[in-house]
Amino acid sequence: METSITLTVDGAERRVDVDHRTTLLDALRDRLGVTSPKKGCDHGQCGSCTVLLDGRRHLTCLTLAIAQDGAEITTAAGLADGDDLHPVQQQFLDQDGYQCGYCTPGQVCSAVGMLEEVKQGRPSHVTEDLTGDIELTDEEVRERMSGNLCRCGAYPNIVAAIREAAR
């Protein structure tokens, strides 16, 4: 069974016929040629397929494309403003926040979404005072980014990049 859906991907409206079994990740990569989100585990355990979906960080491997008809998606490739990188992207470069780079687009999207959550005052598992201000410590960054794995182990520099971007 196929249905035609519309997705806005990095600002461009795209129409595509999808089999109902197609995940959003496969629709993006295999049908639309949008290869910025990566397929790591394909089971929601690694975070490499993370995008911003309607403004919030979201996995693309654990959702069906048909269920996201009409969604607005920003991938890491769509974050830059022309030649000006997004501050999170720039800090991943400056702080050497990656090695092989495979998890990086997911890390970057997750970090952008996470910093917005912090800006909204949303607490995390390690936040002492649920109703107080949030101080973005290393511990907070690590907890909030725990859905993104990096098998090269670039974690210290990823934490540094995110803290610098948040300044």
């Binding site: 960080r57 654990l62 069906l64 269920a67 996470m114 949303r122 725990s146």
Partner: protein, 330 residues
């Protein structure tokens, strides 16, 4: 994966009818567990009734000072809600201890409660599992048993419920609101999840086509302190080995009220009624807490690889009760 029809439900009653009338249909909400099961072959519906566009995504304060949470409210939004953070810290903490930032943005209130076990054998369709395929046997009882239950298991199933959120609902004495083929139903959360018995394929008491539409919380008096503590194999993004949800109200040095529920130990969140009865009205001394834990855990019957959970849940509970009764909630 089998060919699949998908439709966005436009109202609750037609969604209920669609699933109730078709043995091959399933509700789809956030999908973070169900879509994984479609890929793994754990379940193979031919029709998905997507409820995410139904108007069930609001959180409202009720007239009695409680809270009504719509079934499709995302876990992240519920944990961030001002009233939840201020008045129901046990629930905010339980939600924030679950999954990852991305998954909390996806997973819903109802879906969280209806997620299935993460028992490795349930998710591996090449192995026997009574929950996935009734009558096929239980691989976890003699096999890898690190995550197994220590209370309330049956010969047919030794798994545990994965939800943190559900454990907090247990101590909050929440109410479940459903719409089903026989109309609306309201019942205590304690009646939602079941022990495995001879039918581990049934996680809940819901009938086919019955849809959770809301969760209602009674008001929680300001004097009541509550929290949630989760112990896991790594610091974040892992299911509980054991977890403790607790709420206490002091009357001078004594416990006017105490409520405790455990996660990671049974097929459903385990409300520690015997522990509560033993402690209520008592001073929460280490000795009194030990006696209460002895009473509750008398029935513990762990498989060998999960035996570590008995001392773990004892120590975690003692620590949580000490912190709450000292006024240090975290």
């Amino acid at each position: 994966m089998k060919a699949l029809a998908h439709e966005h439900a436009t109202d609750v009653s037609s969604a209920v009818r669609a699933v109730a009338s078709s043995p091959d249909a399933a509700f789809l909400a956030g999908g973070s567990n169900l879509v994984d099961h479609l890929k793994l072959g754990v379940t193979a519906p031919s029709r998905l009734v997507d409820i995410t566009r139904l108007p069930l995504d609001t959180i409202e304060e009720t007239d009695d000072g409680g809270l009504r949470i719509g079934a499709t409210v995302r876990n992240s939004d519920l944990a961030a809600h001002a009233v939840v953070r201020e008045r129901y810290p046990v629930m905010a903490r339980a939600l924030l201890a679950g999954a990852s930032g991305q998954i909390r943005n996806q997973a819903t209130t109802g879906g969280n409660l209806l997620q299935r076990t993460r028992c490795v054998y349930f998710q591996d369709i090449t192995t026997p599992c009574n929950k996935r395929q009734p009558g096929s046997g239980c691989s976890a009882r003699e096999g890898y048993g690190h995550d197994n239950a220590i209370l309330g298991a049956s010969p047919e199933c030794v798994t545990v419920h994965p939800s943190d959120f559900a454990v907090s609902l247990s101590v909050l004495d929440a109410t479940v609101v459903t719409a089903g083929p026989h109309g609306e139903r309201r019942f205590p959360y304690a009646e939602l999840h079941r022990l495995p018995g001879e039918h581990p394929e049934r996680d809940t008491t819901l009938e086919r086509g019955e849809l959770i539409t809301a969760i209602e919380l009674p008001p929680l008096a300001r004097e009541i302190r509550s929290t949630y503590h989760k112990v896991r194999d790594r610091a974040s993004y892992a299911f509980a080995l054991v977890s403790v949800a607790a709420a206490v109200e002091m009357d001078g040095p004594r416990l006017a009220d105490v409520r405790v529920a455990w996660g990671g130990v049974a097929h459903r969140p385990w409300r520690a009624h015997r522990l509560e009865e033993t402690l209520r009205g008592q001073e929460p001394t280490p000795k009194a807490i030990r006696a209460a834990l002895d009473a509750e855990l008398e029935a513990a019957d762990p498989t060998s690889q999960a035996a570590f959970k008995v001392p773990m849940v004892r120590r975690t509970t003692a620590m949580v009760l000490r912190d709450l009764t000292d006024g240090r909630t975290r």
